[in-house]
């Protein structure tokens, strides 16, 4: 395929038309396609360590027949004759396996959830300019990171007539700058590469790195007033997305927000969390082609409002679906900002920590929603409203019922978008938006 953005839509239409035409009576079929044409360039010490071009298309067929479901996926070659041969065989395998399975009482019948088509064209950095634009701008700096750039596509059709398409050209440059072991984190992402915007982004990160040249502050473990910058607070509150917002996890006894959902506990009235597709980070349709509401408030002013509920959970547990993805992870978290202005952050910290980033978060005690993790990158000790210097990284261990509850003092009046830059298997879509937060008596243990 010479141009994925132009060529894949008609190709998917053709393939799916042929497969749908071959269905037997009583069979329903859902088809999902995911594709990308990406260039990845990996940097270390202001040089290029690895470069990889990736062109891939994956299709999945979900056959539903006699209350049984089988889903099979495979890579596509982009050659119609070869691909039709593989997919016809795959559909036959689905039929063969479905015949051997017991019935599935929680199966969600396929439906026609409408038609949509969204395409976002970008202006990406030409590969000939990568060296000059990125490494030229970072000349003299120790930069490490990854440029990911290209087309990402998701599509869905089914035998009931549903048809959704989402295609975007975008890039991210996720990087960090180093002065020996001290590091500052930056990310420049978007759809249109702008040389001036990139240089400004780099300059901001460089200023952060310069702040780290102050004397190292050795602060012992303990409880400290802490400012979590948007990336750090987004990661901490984003832990809720790991089983905490899932209706199935709640019903299956695995939810860390059980007390919140049951009304036995509340977060701070400052805390409101939504899933917000109006940020344009991810398609609203899921693998069943169901279209989620543009915005759903899940936690409002500290009180539980609703879980993410897939149609399967809705059927199993008698709930109202809000068309979450089957795994019931959030796709576009949006945390409402507060009133703290940027110029007042250091004054509001007083004496305590300014934490730019966190690292390797995990539930340490799910029942009490306790999370552990590390500080990382530009984390500073603030003394009487003045930056004293960088800290040695510390481990924290704190319950979200406290950190997002009585210990949450203020949220900044600005929130920052943190686009998903994950590239496991393929480039992710989605992301989150979060403000910065002041948390009192935040617990550090090691």
């Amino acid at each position: 395929m010479n141009n994925l953005m132009n060529d894949l839509y008609p190709y998917f239409e053709d393939l799916s038309d042929r497969l749908l035409a071959g269905l037997n009576p009583g069979e329903d079929l859902s088809l999902n396609i995911a594709a990308e044409e990406s260039l990845f360039v990996r940097f270390n010490k202001n040089a290029i360590r690895q470069n990889t071009n990736v062109e891939q298309i994956t299709i999945s067929l979900r056959l539903q027949v006699n209350h049984r479901s089988v889903e099979k996926s495979r890579s596509l070659r982009g050659q119609l004759r070869e691909d039709m041969k593989s997919l016809t065989a795959l559909l036959d395998e689905c039929r063969h396996e479905a015949a051997q399975l017991p019935t599935d009482p929680h199966q969600v019948a396929l439906a026609n959830n409408g038609t949509s088509r969204e395409e976002f064209r970008g202006e990406l950095l030409a590969k000939e300019k990568i060296v000059e634009e990125i490494l030229g701008a970072a000349n003299g700096l120790d930069i490490a990171g990854l440029l990911g750039s290209g087309v990402v596509i998701r599509g869905n059709r089914n035998s009931l007539g549903q048809n959704h398409w989402f295609a975007t050209e975008s890039f991210f440059l996720d990087y960090s700058l180093y002065n020996g072991p001290k590091a500052a984190k930056g990310n420049y992402s978007g759809a249109k590469w702008n040389s001036d915007a990139w240089k400004k982004n780099l300059s901001r990160t460089r200023m952060q790195l310069e702040m780290l040249s102050k004397p190292l502050q050795k602060i012992p473990a303990g409880k400290y007033r802490s400012y979590l910058a948007p990336a750090a607070f987004g990661d901490l509150a984003g832990m809720l997305g790991w089983m905490g917002l899932s209706a199935a996890a709640w019903k299956q006894g695995r939810s860390p927000t059980k007390k919140l959902a049951n009304g036995e506990a509340k977060f701070s009235p400052l805390f409101t969390l939504s899933e917000n597709f109006s940020m344009g980070l991810a398609p609203r349709f899921n693998s069943l082609g169901e279209v989620a509401p543009l915005q759903s408030t899940l936690i409002e002013k500290g009180s539980w409002k609703q879980f993410l509920v897939s149609s399967r959970s809705a059927k199993e547990y008698g709930l109202q679906a809000n068309f979450a993805i089957p795994e019931e992870f959030p796709r576009a978290i949006d945390i409402a900002p507060g009133t703290l202005s940027e110029k007042d952050i250091l004054k509001e910290i007083g004496t305590g920590f300014y934490l730019s980033n966190l690292h390797y978060l995990n539930w340490s005690d799910p029942v009490t929603a306790r999370v552990t993790g590390m500080t990382r990158y530009a984390c500073l000790w603030v003394s009487n409203g003045e930056i004293a210097g960088p800290i040695q990284d510390l481990r924290f261990d704190e319950s979200l019922y406290d950190a997002l509850g009585s210990k949450l003092v203020a949220l900044t009046d600005h929130a920052e978008i943190d686009p998903a830059i994950g590239t496991y298997v393929a480039r992710d879509l989605g992301g989150k938006r979060a403000p910065g937060a002041i948390i009192d008596q935040f617990t550090f243990t090691l």
């Binding site: 270390n44 990889t52 060296v131 006894g253």
Partner: protein, 476 residues
């Protein structure tokens, strides 16, 4: 017999003379997932991942281009893309390599199995998994009973312009059971897993039912148990927690690409410095760690890495002293340090990087009873449930599903929510006893994440039970 969808001889012939060196790495992998929850089928899915990675050496820089289009035109286009990009990026390459870094190798490997994976039907697998979830239902308090089976068949071929010709065929299986008991706002989960290179012979209904019955009962017992005590005490880790301990605090910090800084922007750096090799007393003299890709049935066994280098067992740590890093041929050249054959890629669509394979702790001489008898006050911990470590791999905190309180050399009761935290080198120097072969367990995970672009990889860890002195332990 696997039939390739292209002619490797013809395609390689077209590349000779057009660059300093090139290879074609073809991979076809079919992963099948079966899941039963609360005695009902929940997931029956499979994924066939098939494609080709073209690797070129241009101006002393290795570059890559991946495609699923396996026609001659598709392969030619991937080669052109790799060359175009690499000629640009080689202007500022991190290191200058030679074709000698990809020596010509020929060979085959097939993971051991006695029954083919496709010899067991979907109906039989579903029946086995359903029997397991039924066996977990020892009490109405067990609210979620899950049994999963993942079956993977991989064919990997590697050809180069200098004559490499390698075929490896892997059969891999991961079985995972979990039982969650809940009452009020409390819940506790116990799990059991078995991973390795096996065929369908691994489906042993009697064993499945036995393990499922045990974890169902233990999840209920944990609901009623007291919280793990807090304080400094002895810690006896069983193999299903040792695997995580080895993985996070030995495997990752010894990866040479981390030490060289490649991973600084993602997974992180390492506290280990190049000058530490041959000198650093990483742990007590009882500690012997090996990289062992030739351990039969272990999850990450192979004969050749994804850069075509033959793999063999090497000691990373001997009598507690750091000997060797987890670094591929490329990392060995860049660092000047000894390494291993661990250039591995998650699939055809990613360039290989330094990865763990099977990283094992060699057995010692103690029986489990002898180690328990040595403990005046301590906790035995089983099965990882929480893991976190800093980006230099120093400060870690791990949690387990189940603890057992040891007082005066005897287990007195089970405790829930056991956790511990420590700093890597200090922790391993507190290793006071290493269990014998009879205490050893072999585990693995398909989900070790690393790299930019991101890659997951399969790793194996074989370890005996181990005793550590005076560790900071705490509960929920």
């Amino acid at each position: 017999m696997t039939t390739l969808p292209f002619s490797p001889e013809q395609e390689i012939k077209k590349l000779i003379g057009r660059c300093e060196w090139a290879s074609l790495r073809y991979l076809k992998e079919t992963s099948t997932y079966r899941q039963v929850r609360n005695d009902l089928p929940e997931k029956n899915e499979s994924m066939t991942d098939e494609g080709l990675m073209v690797e070129v050496l241009a101006n002393g820089h290795f570059g890559h281009s991946a495609t699923a289009d396996l026609s001659s035109d598709g392969i030619a286009r991937a080669f052109e893309k790799a060359m175009q990009t690499t000629q640009i990026t080689s202007q500022v390459k991190a290191f200058s390599f030679k074709s000698d870094d990809r020596p010509p190798v020929r060979g085959k490997f097939e993971s051991p199995r006695t029954k083919k994976l496709d010899s067991i039907s979907v109906a039989e697998i579903t029946d086995h998994l359903t029997a397991a979830t039924k066996a977990m239902a020892s009490s109405p308090l067990v609210v979620n009973r899950l049994a999963q089976a993942t079956l993977i068949e991989t064919d990997s071929f590697y050809f180069s312009t200098t004559g490499s010709d390698i075929h490896q065929n892997f059969n891999l299986i991961a079985i995972d059971f979990s039982a969650t008991a809940a009452e009020g706002s409390e819940n506790q989960t116990r799990s059991w897993s078995q991973t390795g290179q096996w065929g369908a012979e691994i489906f042993d209904r009697t064993r499945f039912v036995s393990e499922a019955t045990r974890i169902g009962k233990e999840s209920v017992a944990l609901l009623k148990a007291e919280n793990c005590p807090t304080g400094k005490m002895d810690l006896l880790l069983m193999p299903d927690q040792m695997m995580l301990q080895i993985h996070e605090s030995i495997g990752h910090p010894l990866e040479l690409d981390r030490i060289l800084g490649d991973e600084r922007n993602y997974a992180g750096w390492s506290f280990v410095q190049k000058e530490d090799f041959g000198k650093l007393q990483y742990g007590s003299k009882l500690m012997n760690i090996s990289f062992d890709p030739q351990q039969a049935h272990e999850f990450a066994s192979y004969e050749f890495d994804d850069s075509g280098i033959p793999a063999k067992k090497e000691f990373l740590i001997k009598a507690g002293v750091l000997q060797r890093g987890l670094g591929s041929q490329e990392s060995q050249r860049r660092s000047g340090l000894p390494g291993v054959a661990n250039s591995r890629a998650t699939s055809w669509n990613r360039a290989p990087i330094d990865r763990m394979a099977n990283i094992n702790l060699e057995p010692g001489e103690s029986t489990l009873e002898e180690m328990i008898a040595q403990v005046k006050h301590g906790i035995l911990m089983r099965t990882n449930r929480s893991w976190s470590i800093d980006d230099y791999r120093n400060k870690f905190q791990f949690g387990c599903e189940m603890g057992e309180l040891i007082e005066n050399g005897k287990i007195v009761k089970i405790v829930r929510n056991p956790n511990y935290r420590a700093i890597t080198v200090d922790f391993w120097n507190r290793l006071a006893a290493v269990g014998n072969l009879g205490t050893t367990g072999t585990y693995g995970t398909p989900y070790c994440g690393k790299g930019e672009p991101n890659q997951i990889i399969r790793v194996g860890h074989r370890s005996p039970a181990c005793l550590f002195r005076d560790i900071e332990v705490f509960g929920g």
